[in-house]
Symmetry: C2
Subunit: 298 residues, 2 copies
Amino acid sequence: MKSRSTRALLCGRINCMVEIIKTTGERELFEREKFCESLHKAGAPSDVTEEICALLEKEVTPGMSTTQIFRKASKYLMRRNLPAGIRYNVKRGLELLGPAGFLFEQFVETLMRAEGYENTARDQMIRGECVEHEIDVVAEKGGERHIVEVKYHNQSAIKTPVEVVMYADARREDIARAEAKQGKNVKHHLLLVTNTKFSKNALAYARCRAIALIGWQYPRERCLEDIIREHVLYPTTVLPSVDRGAREAFARHDMMLVRDLAPYSVEDVVRKFGIDERRARGIIKEAHVLVYGTQHVD
Amino acid sequence: MKSRSTRALLCGRINCMVEIIKTTGERELFEREKFCESLHKAGAPSDVTEEICALLEKEVTPGMSTTQIFRKASKYLMRRNLPAGIRYNVKRGLELLGPAGFLFEQFVETLMRAEGYENTARDQMIRGECVEHEIDVVAEKGGERHIVEVKYHNQSAIKTPVEVVMYADARREDIARAEAKQGKNVKHHLLLVTNTKFSKNALAYARCRAIALIGWQYPRERCLEDIIREHVLYPTTVLPSVDRGAREAFARHDMMLVRDLAPYSVEDVVRKFGIDERRARGIIKEAHVLVYGTQHVD
């Protein structure tokens, strides 16, 4: 780690003192090292990291947003190192599935189907002993019933707190009491899926009460991003060429997955979604890299 | 209800088109009728309402904040009709017990002691089966243990949702399971106290699970404001002369209740809290009205 003053000397005439704009609207100086580290953390090899850092350093101009910088970087990274590019993008792609979270719910339902859950249904009203509950997703597996609580956060930096897990537990108990009263003995498994990590207490409580959790980097043996990768179920929001306009066009047409988009031709994308040709070409190229492992566009 | 144009004609040269500033910083036109209605809702008789409306109409100047207008109005109302003045003030006074809510917790503990709860303690860590819980207030009554969840909102317009009640229930259950494991059979009563109303589902769930609720206008037979009135346990924030500076001075000296402030002389208030004499006189006068039912200041 070099000191600020050494760095200023080293970077000389290149963009070391460029002010960029964060998503919050705040301004900050573009920090080469911080930026390089984010690429490295996504698993980019040192030579690729250095190459992209050098490229970006030249391209960053004053007033550029961190989102623009992220897009440029992830575009380069996707081309140079697919797995690192994907890791760099998935977290943000999930955050963009908002804003109200209902798209994330739909996404979770899709993941569950891929995982072998059957008869999935969203937003089901289930009567408890005390009140009626709107369950985000209900599903069956191996003849057993699962109720799924989906928690979406547009800031993945937060950790889902224990309150959320306990509230879900209280719901399950309320439903169980209602069914016991009716003489039914249906055990409900409870699953909580979020795009964030979990607080320490949330993990402890869930473990203790047999509540399954799936979230960012959790559980280690098979976390949210593992499931996504395994089934190639990337949301279109992970593609660096998908800007706000494209995102909204895809949402309007219920086009949520890169997998469903990949068979489209560039012309199809232009016609169906009203996206300009240059961007459509970028999108399809990235979709092919992700789904077919190739960069060639027909 | 008169139409806007009729009203504009009626109010003629007086402050009908005066722009005032809401607590959010937004500007709006001062509306005489809306303002009169708020006094009427607090239970001010028609003649008092009309009198204060006429007075305020003359005193409202452009750029005046809704808080300033509220203070002026409540000062007049306290003098003309004590019960209405108190009702007009208590809700806002409780909102001002924030910002972090810990003062409201302290206030709730005081109320509970007045209600005959014993051995009260705040922020107690209690081990559950799964995790440790920080309980806002624990107390005993008739040899039985009570755990109290305190929910403070600085916007009393919201209704405490069912999630809060269910989370508290899950906590009680977790603690109960831990104690059952140890062979103890201590039943914990659960009480939830808030400065807001409750959602319909929150009420249903609490009733069903024997969770006691105390909040704004709830329960009807003995709600938060009834308990406050009965024990004369008004927080100093209900006094219209207590401005931000006085509020902070009182908080620094742990002076939370009008009852504890009332025996002070004006000079004491000036000396101890650094409040200027004119304001101190107003404060003590209002405190006497509230605690001793008299307007005379020694």
